[in-house]
């Protein structure tokens, strides 16, 4: 069953045409690797899906509903979350406060739901528990990456968008992250991973979409 369908999407930043009629889809429970070199349009694609960038043409269909004109907060409400390339944690909040932020924003989660979700997140990333009370600005880049993904997971979304999750990580940490993404898959969470490292994505993705200069060049099933 198709969860997200991107249909002929055109995106401009200012007057610059960044995404050119891109189309691809992702099935429920799949891990999709969006690969391409720097500047290919991977981040723009993810930001367009979450609603941070408007599309000028085409449409984005999520669970059969056209969400192209929905603001970001409504897309989060529908179950799409995002972990940006540069982590973007709130420096003065603690690690756990950063993770809990989307729960506080949603307003509809009970205390027990929040505790349950937090427990699942800590099962996927057990190491976070060790530094959960430290300020986000005081942890390492690799730790920040995990926290950023944990923050995207805490709502138990239907679709998670991960931008360059392995970038800047030591190989051992990057591999650890792969195991976490596998754990997310077991929970039934659909994932789009934007990566420039094809070898990394091939280890986990069910489908690979290659993007270059804002155009989709190839969509292949990963054997």
């Amino acid at each position: 069953m198709v969860l997200l369908d991107i249909v002929n999407v055109d995106v401009y930043i200012g007057n610059v045409h960044i995404l050119r009629k891109i189309s691809f889809n992702i099935e429920k429970g799949e891990v999709l690797g969006l690969i391409g070199p720097n500047g290919a349009g991977k981040t723009t694609t993810l930001k367009t899906i979450i609603g941070l960038l408007p599309l000028r043409a085409g449409k984005i269909v999520f669970e059969g509903e056209d969400i192209s004109r929905l603001p970001a907060r409504n897309r989060v409400g529908k179950g799409i979350t995002y972990s940006p390339e540069d982590r973007r944690l709130i420096a003065d909040l603690t690690v756990e406060e950063n993770i809990l932020l989307p729960c506080w924003v949603s307003g509809s989660m009970t205390k027990s739901m929040i505790e349950k979700n937090l427990e699942i997140v800590y099962k996927i990333f057990p190491e976070i528990k060790e530094f959960k009370d430290r300020k986000a600005k005081l942890i390492s880049g690799g730790q920040q990456k995990m926290v950023s993904i944990a923050r995207a997971l805490v709502l138990m979304p239907k679709l998670v968008l991960l931008d360059e999750p392995s970038e800047g990580l030591a190989p051992i940490v990057a591999n650890r992250l792969l195991r976490s993404i596998e754990a997310m898959k077991l929970l039934g969470i659909t994932t789009i991973i934007a990566e420039s490292n094809l070898r990394y994505v091939k280890q986990i993705a069910d489908k690979i979409v290659r993007i270059e200069r804002g155009e989709i060049k190839e969509v292949v099933k990963n054997a």
Binding site: I50, G51, L52, P71, A72, R73, V76, G77, T81, Y82, P84, R88, I90, A91, D92, L93, E97, L101, P102, W104, V105, S106, R151
Partner: protein, 297 residues
Amino acid sequence: MLEITSLIVIFLNTLIYTVILALISVGLNMVLGVLKILNLSHGVLLAIGAYLSVTFVRSFLSFGLPIYTTYIALGLAGIIAGIFMGFTVEPIILRRIYERVEIQQLLATFALMLILEDVIKLIWGPQSLVIAEPYLYLGNLNIGGISYPLYYVFLMVVGYFILLITYIFLNTTKIGRIIRSTAFDREISLALGVDVKRVYTYAFTIGATLTTLGGSLIAPTLSLQPGFSSEYIVLSFAVVVVGGLGDIKGAFIASLVMALARTITVMVFPELELAIIFIIMLLVLQLRPEGLFKGGR
């Protein structure tokens, strides 16, 4: 050598001046930090709080209520003025200029300041207004032979209490942390599902209410005339520069630094009372433009 009583008076004056400056500049910096807009009309909020206090205090007294209820009138006036201004000015005016270039934002808020000044004249008239009852009711405190108005102590206690509540609100409540997150990173807050428009309204309303409460607290100590708030707003801009743009904690510490410098200057070179504040501001702009209390350049 300064006598101990003079030192106590300097200390009290510094604390009082600090709290007034802090109420205005913490509010101004909150708006700047969250909405990323330098609101030149912020000072008029001080005047609106003060003028509405006149109306409230006089109404309370004309209804025959005892004088001590005028302190409630002051608080109500400050809160109502802040909430009203917050829920009107932000959605109706500021929301339309967020995406504009800074010079347009400055001109728009400058125009708003002039409009509000005239609205004050229209409602309360151009004549001086005084509400001395809350000030006189508390009488004086004797400090080593020096008579010191007890109202200033009241102003100080209430003012610091308001600042403390604001600090606790921003640091321990969910909505406070969401406001701080939005100030820190608007885009990621959007991606986390934050209703940024609503957060802007809340942040502006809190910033406005701090300032209108400042206005209502100082109203009994002044003879209110149109334009009286200009001095305070200029001072609060200096505080914001020294404390760091958008830095709420920095604004409080800078208020203390400026108040201390001013109080000492008044004792030694009273002619330089205002100059000292702007000398400090110029020095900070030259040597540490990001503000005294922010990380390195």
